[in-house]
Symmetry: C2
Subunit: 249 residues, 2 copies
């Protein structure tokens, strides 16, 4: 994604979705170098804590290349950072999915686990966390690729929420009416997950739960929570149970 800067990397595999041309020697080398660049960038990003001061030249030094050579793989510094952000989306989504896959957990406990997994990932990857929440803005959000990865991320908690709704573990019908209207795009995602029913209320509830949990993590990562609460981990646990308690039964 967001490659092909100069003259297009994949020469003719664009229009014809034909015989799935095996990746050539060159393609594999290119992919390896791309990954190496991204790995180096992530390495340099880690101590920075803020994605802003990632130096392209430093990345080039790290991988033993000239700064200009990086431009064979990424159109710009912004592009490199966006690629890192997309990977971060996938990474945190995987962390959530892992927490959701633990067997023999009560629905409420599974949701609590996912919240803790989210917080743990964010605390462990503060730079990538900042990266995710810097790209994209109020109006139209980012590129289509960005939207795609973002939706892919939300798919993870959404499938769990829909499952719990279908199993009757969510206190449906107790919210104020009328419910706010949701985007058709996200309903399509829900529909693709199964015919159990496209339930707008589930989307609304997930958004509210998510906003509450994400908000606490934000406060913690930017130093606000620690200024107010004594034991932040304990406070998070309590917060999560309060929030989920108003939606689960």
């Amino acid at each position: 994604m967001t490659e092909t800067p100069d003259r297009g990397a994949q020469p003719e595999t664009s229009a014809s979705t034909g015989p799935e041309r095996a990746p050539s020697r060159r393609d594999r080398a290119r992919l390896a170098t791309t990954d190496e660049i991204k790995a180096a960038a992530r390495e340099l990003l880690a101590p920075a804590q803020e994605g802003s001061d990632l130096s392209l030249r430093a990345v080039a030094r790290e991988v033993g290349m000239t700064p200009s050579a990086i431009y064979r793989y990424f159109e710009s510094r912004h592009d490199l950072m966006e690629a890192l952000a997309l990977d971060a989306f996938d990474s945190v989504a995987a962390a959530l999915g892992e927490a959701a896959a633990v067997p023999d957990r009560a629905p409420l406990q599974r949701a609590v686990d996912m919240a803790h997994a989210y917080r743990a990932w964010c605390l462990r990857h503060p730079a990538e966390f900042a990266l995710i929440f810097r790209h994209g803005n109020v109006s139209g959000a980012g590129s289509p690729t960005w939207r795609e990865h973002l939706l892919g991320f939300y798919r993870v908690p959404l499938v769990i929420m829909l499952e719990d709704v279908a199993a009757g573990h969510v206190a449906l019908g107790t919210m104020a009416t009328p419910l706010p209207v949701v985007q058709p795009e996200i309903l399509e995602v829900a529909q693709a997950l199964g015919p159990d029913g496209v339930c707008p209320e589930a989307v609304v509830r997930l958004t509210q739960v998510w906003a509450s949990i994400h908000g606490f993590v934000c406060l913690e990562l930017f130093g606000h929570a620690g200024l107010i609460m004594g034991d932040v981990a304990e406070a998070f646990e309590h917060h999560v149970r309060t929030v989920l308690g108003t939606h689960y039964r």
Copy 2:
């Protein structure tokens, strides 16, 4: 604050908190220039949407000065941005206070008003919002001045919450126990507000309400909310009422 770069601006008003020396002609000129610099910086910050790319040299051009001259007023670019962040704290605190001061509002409605005032401020000042939430990190937060302004900000909703608790409008005792422990620093703030009682549960509830509301605004400002909800304003209103509904009665 965070001035006095070269040799100290206020020559001898530092140690002796004595006769409140009236601001000299120079002091006033200095303050005016400082404000002009900050105003220019804010101007340039507005379209940027991200605080990162604020150029000190551009600020200097805007006010008609040499870049190096700025260093007579701020020790570094970081210092200038921190000053802007502190002003932003005061600005959003004022917006909240204004919403809280509207007379003849029911407690719940007043809380809803404050939430909307917060969202409105954030949408109107996205760059300053980003500024506030970039300084400070997980561990110890920022400078003492930063903590001071941060606590000053939280004082505004806290006094309202304590008022509502004292008037019996908050559903005390319905949370999971044990309650998480809060910082003594914030309890001192609460104590200073009035002897009505230092109520740790009020601090916990405020934190959770605050995290939930702030979280939604974060999602909106970074383009997540718009991707999921159709009418974000409507969704925010619903979210706020859901959250506050679990704490007010």
